[in-house]
């Protein structure tokens, strides 16, 4: 079946892309002004430690060997030691990745789904009060500057009203309490997630709604919609079965294309809410000149975006029979 081939080819492409990104990163760090040793070693390290690291990363060897070693280290999951945490980078990332995935994936699913649903409804009722008001709302929230919206939401809902925690992912008192079960812990995470989710949702929902609305309007002009009407099908069937799936196709494409863009917003959200994810770690490590951690968390984010892209591609192929067969 062709779908399998399609996924295979896309996977290979994505691997190649990732490899190129890795190489670019290597070039960037090695060609940057200054001593490459400085990027790998902490000023507070002892000389023996520096020597050990230099050897591990082959800094005493020619560039091409360094590159091979870099790739090999990557494959082994050996990213060095974080200057800040004094722990292996890989351990830190292992802890951060699921947290980013949780926040980002939930947000993406929520806003994509809501955008498609609302766009569909608004196009169907174009010109109505509902259309005007929701479109306007979407347009406004879509153009909100994300960090600012986050600060405002914290200010109102966490500081003034006190409905949600100011930041972080868990409340230590709940998680340290041996009495609390998984439900209580889960609800606690959910409680902490509400505001960051709201920020990501509000800044993205409008864009998808508007795109879906306009592609839906275009789809409604297609001949097969006329056919569906002529067939005497109920309006709901025309909207949900004939128009919406076709209109959603370009929206799914744009979802794939804007994942990279959304992860920027994800990183900022994590930073503001102190959500212990990859994005925050990246911002944090760059501020602290923690190069090994910065490098590795960037690569991991890139990989995350690429894999998400692949998933979107698969969803697209599933929706469009012209790709499947």
């Amino acid at each position: 079946m062709n779908l399998r081939l399609f996924v295979l080819v896309r996977s290979v492409q994505i691997l190649i892309t990732f490899f190129i990104i890795m190489t670019l990163l290597f070039v960037l760090f090695r060609l940057a002004p200054g001593d490459p040793v400085a990027f790998l070693t902490d000023p507070q390290m002892t000389e023996e430690e520096v020597a050990l690291l230099s050897q591990q990363f082959g800094l005493d060897q020619p560039l091409h060997r360094q590159y091979l070693l870099y790739v090999w280290n990557f494959i082994r999951g050996e990213f060095g030691i974080s200057f800040y945490y004094h722990r292996p980078v890989v351990e830190i990332l292992k802890d951060r990745l699921p947290k980013t995935a949780l926040l980002f994936t939930t947000a993406t699913i929520l806003y994509a789904f809501a955008g498609i649903t609302w766009g569909k409804i608004l196009a169907w009722k174009r010109g109505s009060l509902l259309d005007t008001s929701v479109s306007l709302f979407g347009l406004l929230t879509h153009t909100f500057f994300l960090p600012w919206l986050a600060l405002i939401l914290i200010w109102i809902f966490a500081y003034h009203l006190g409905w949600f925690p100011l930041n972080a992912m868990i409340s230590p008192e709940i998680w340290l309490d041996p009495e609390s079960g998984w439900l209580r812990k889960g609800l606690d995470i959910l409680h902490h997630m509400v505001l960051p989710l709201a920020v990501l949702f509000l800044t993205h929902f409008g864009g998808y709604t508007l795109v879906m609305r306009s592609t839906m309007l275009e789809t409604l002009r297609e001949d097969y919609i006329l056919t569906a009407r002529a067939k005497g099908l109920p309006e709901k069937v025309i909207r949900n079965r004939h128009a919406a799936p076709n209109a959603a196709l370009p929206v799914v494409t744009s979802l794939g294309l804007s994942l990279a863009f959304s992860i920027n917003g994800g990183a900022i959200t994590e930073t503001i809410f102190s959500w212990p994810g990859l994005g925050r770690e990246l911002v944090f490590s760059v501020s602290n000149s923690d190069y090994p951690l910065a490098q590795a968390s960037f690569l991991l984010i890139a990989a995350f975006v690429l894999v998400s892209n692949l998933i979107v591609d698969i969803i697209y192929a599933y929706l469009d029979p012209r790709i499947r067969y």
């Binding site: 001949d223 002529a230 099908l233 109920p234 069937v237 079965r241 929706l319 029979p321 012209r322 067969y325």
Partner: protein, 319 residues
Amino acid sequence: MSLLEVDSLTVHYLTAKGKVHALEEVSFDLKKGEALGLVGESGCGKTTVAMAIMKLLAPNARVLSGKILLRGEDLLRKGEEEMRKVRWKEVSMVFQSAMNALNPVHRVGDQIVEAILAHDGSFSEEEAQKRVSELFALVGLDPNRMRDYPHQYSGGMRQRAIIAMALACEPSLVIADEPTTALDVVVQDQILGEMKRLQMDLHLSLLYISHDISIIARACDRMGVMYAGQLVELGPTQKVLEAPLHPYTRGLLNSYPSLRGPKKRLRPIPGEPPNLWEPPEGCRFHPRCPRASEICRSSCPPVVSLENGHFARCHRPRS
């Protein structure tokens, strides 16, 4: 009694550029089991007639006057919900561009099943599937290809699928809007033959709409000629082709090169059709008419009947 009677139908489109006089006092009727053709150049309003019957006119269209009687009931007075029951069950349609008339994301068979189920509650899913495979066989398609998607079909196959779809609910009237325009000559011939056979076998009434007079000639018992939003001639096909009353019809017939008979120089109608924002005063054809006289320039000609059942909208029909 006629199955369908269109009585002085007038439709305008409101556009940013102004009012388009798309249809002006168009009247014709269609009997049970008959094939009637409407022929005319692009923009003459023939598709508007079809859409008005289906009540699927664009939102900026305004029906100013007229009646569309189906078995004596005026469709223009029906509400949307009532009309939904008329569509496909009573009147179905074969669309112009088969490529786009089928939804690309649904299987061809399912799109027909859906029409059956929407109108006939007595069908179960399986019975509807079975009916579709009968329909496929009827129009000359392999029933095994029901589960294919439209993009897996060739142009001719898609057109056949559309015809199968149009017949799904056993309608009494099928409107075929340029049913073969995008197809090659041989396939076009097959499809027209197929439709003729179905018309005979199922005792269907057919309303053909085409820009190509030869297709209408091939398929219809009676034909009407449209020009600039008006029906300028209506009569039995044989009569209209052999002894046209209206100068436009004659000009149109002279515009087609022929494969048979001696080779003659074509004498096309000079000029171009008028735009319908500002149709000419008087007879709409007068600026291009070789026989136009003073009265043609000033007053709109009435519909005259020279012979039984052969009408023309002309001041000076064939002398």
